[in-house]
């Protein structure tokens, strides 16, 4: 070997952290959480924000409400199994559902890029109305701004929603107990792979459609069946990996998963193998993780199975009576490793 001696082998100085926003900060991983902690939560600090939940839960005159907001920036605007309009409705409805709330009303804010064909916008709005009807909510207020051509990505949509909590459970990370069962409501990764396939022009042997769907109905069904739900979280950016790590961190509990029990369709697994992506960290838009009392796990699965025809709910792990608050996973060959929070946007590997 020529050149440097071992003692002088080195790499560059670290880059200044978070000096500017990059796409990694939107990927649902540790970079995004760091940004939220340092920029937003440090300024907006209050009791409701500190709930670390998908929605803020508060009471007015003895009635509990959930309130949440979400913004949607996606290319392409229309993808197999959905579009930005239905996504904008379901995303916020699902955040309300994860607080155990029955969604009531939504707002819709549009930032439209000049040059977008009016028909495209009209189709998106029609899709939103259909999604609202499917979710049994109304879109009751809104706003529209237009930005110059080249200053947007067709259309960005913000939705905010309010729902009512009609039960006495405290559905939150702090409610989970050792021994609780960890469930997913269906197979993972379809949304992320379907969108990537269209965006990047990838052609797979099967046509994948997004899992994009409203989640309020299955959650309300679980509540009607009196399933002892401790915590819920919908699986969006960062996928299952991010959601379970968030729950572990917020609850202070360790969670153990079994890889062989986690439902991932073969076509999604195949696409992930090809691209070097982890299906457990790929985005979903119609799936959630539920932590329930272990004695209610089978009843929860039966309820979820009865509620949608294209989902395969499964018990994938349990809450441990141990510390520290981390997530471990038993691999397919039987060994155990840490399932760490993803860093940010997953990047296709070189080979």
């Amino acid at each position: 070997m020529n050149g440097q001696t071992p003692e002088s082998l080195s790499c560059p100085l670290p880059l200044p952290q978070d000096e500017q926003i990059t796409m990694i900060h939107g990927g649902g991983g540790t970079a995004m959480h760091r940004l939220i902690e340092r920029v937003f939560k440090s300024q907006f600090d209050n009791d409701l924000l500190r709930q670390d939940h998908d929605a803020a839960v508060f009471a007015v005159d003895g009635t509990r409400f959930a309130f949440t907001t979400d913004s949607f920036v996606i290319q392409p605007l229309v993808f197999p199994g959905g579009d930005i309009g239905s996504l904008a409705v379901y995303g916020t409805v699902n955040d309300l559902a994860m607080a155990g709330a029955r969604p009531l009303y939504l707002s819709a804010g549009f930032i439209v890029e000049a040059g977008l064909p009016t028909q495209v916008l009209s189709d998106i709005v029609a899709s939103m109305q259909r999604a609202a009807e499917a979710s049994n909510i109304q879109i009751v207020t809104g706003d529209t701004k237009v930005v110059e051509h080249g200053h947007g990505d067709g259309v960005f949509i913000n939705t905010a929603g309010i729902g009512v909590i009609e039960h006495g459970r405290v559905i939150a990370p702090r409610s989970i107990q050792p021994g609780d069962a960890v469930l997913v409501s269906g197979d993972l990764g379809r949304h992320g792979i379907a969108v990537m396939a269209v965006r990047e022009g990838l052609e797979f042997e099967t046509t994948l459609t997004s899992d994009c769907a409203p989640l309020a109905a299955p959650v309300l069904a679980l509540l009607r069946e009196n399933v002892a739900i401790r915590c819920l979280r919908d699986l969006t950016r960062g996928g299952l990996t991010s959601a379970v790590n968030e729950i572990a961190a917020a609850s202070g509990r360790a969670v153990h998963l079994r890889e062989s029990a986690i439902p991932v369709r073969d076509d999604v697994r195949g696409a992930c193998e090809l691209l070097g992506l982890d299906p457990l960290a790929v985005a979903n838009e119609g799936r959630f993780v539920a932590i329930v009392d272990h004695s209610d796990a089978d009843r929860a699965l039966d309820t979820l199975r009865g509620h949608a025809v294209d989902t395969t709910p499964a018990v994938i792990g349990e809450v441990l009576d141990s510390s520290p608050a981390r997530v471990t996973i038993e691999s397919r060959i039987g060994s155990v490793r840490i399932l760490d929070m993803p860093s940010g946007e997953q990047l296709p590997r070189i080979c």
Binding site: M1, N2, G3, Q4, L9, S10, C11, P12, L13, P14, L15, Q17, E19, Q20, T22, M23, I24, T30, A31, M32, H33, I36, E37, K41, R50, D52, D54, A55, T68, T69, D95, E200, G201, L202, N245, A248, A249, A250, R269, G270, G276, P324, A325, R326, V327, S331, R332, I333, G334, S335, V336, R337, I338, D340, S343, L347, P348, R349, I350, C351
Partner: protein, 371 residues
Amino acid sequence: MKYIDEYRDASNARRIADEIRRVTTGPHAIMEVCGGQTHAIVKFGIDELLPPAIELIHGPGCPVCVTPVELIDKAIAIARQPDAVFCSFGDMLRVPGSRDDLFRAKASGADVRIVYSPLDALNLAKNNPGKQVVFFAVGFETTAPANALAVFQAHQSNIENFSILCSHVLVPPAMEAILSSPDCRVNGFLAAGHVCTIMGYTEYEPLAKKYNVPIVVTGFEPLDILHGVLLCVRQLEEGRAEVENQYARSVSREGNRHAQRLIETVYQIAPRGWRGIGTIARSGLALRPPFDRYDAERRFDVSEIVAHESEDCISGLVLRGVKKPRECPAFGTRCTPDHPLGAPMVSGEGACAAYYRYKQSEPAVLAGPCA
């Protein structure tokens, strides 16, 4: 899933692990050359199934990790040129250069795009005649044929607005560099299956003989790796030093002749800098005439760029198998996948990132959720 699940079967994994334990007297230090194998080892916890007498050492086979910092700096400088479109596989975007990475260049306005094939970049050039499209041609013998094909097609079609930033490295010279180093601890190799699919394994035979070291061509699934370890341990226990092919479903002794001809047509052997290691003679590929007109370093005049490297990271020692990632004082504290000091922490295939993801003793500090 066919061709995957049968190589991840838990009972077969236990059976091979039991056999490894039965035949091992050790100690043996076995290096898996390829970063993909490192990733699989830690992801599936393969090392946990091995007896303590077997130490797996992680080799220099991560193409992202070994790309020299000068080339990252050149990539960023090219990406910032007006009318340039810089195309790369995704995992190169986070690798730190002297002061920046491609993600940050993109955030400040450079046209950096993730592609899945060099032919995607070539098509981009065809469809954007007003732009200069550059592809970051990184990788070992595995990616060299596809990149060569893109250059060859550009040459045939006389596409003038396409070029590659060539950073190809070759495995056998790196293995020889490791074996000839005075601090070498390796006494057996798992050779990289994908590389051998292209190149065959005849070039490993002189290495096995000269250094008296068994070399087992090995695939990437858990059972492949366990089987490769078993074959390697059997040789070590029996005092043999041969090249064996565990990955026969993909690799032949001669390799893929068509791909080799393509490489020989477009490239010539050249000295190459390895990040964290230094320059190794005859360890890289450079474009040969007349294809060298597609060399982005010539087209964009970035030869004056001088890289700046710190003394903070022991990645060279990790890449050569002299140190384990956790032996680095910065591991998991000052150096994490979010805040990498060195390339092995950046790439998903890097030894440090693999250890951080799957084998750290404490979890990362997590913030709260987002709606």
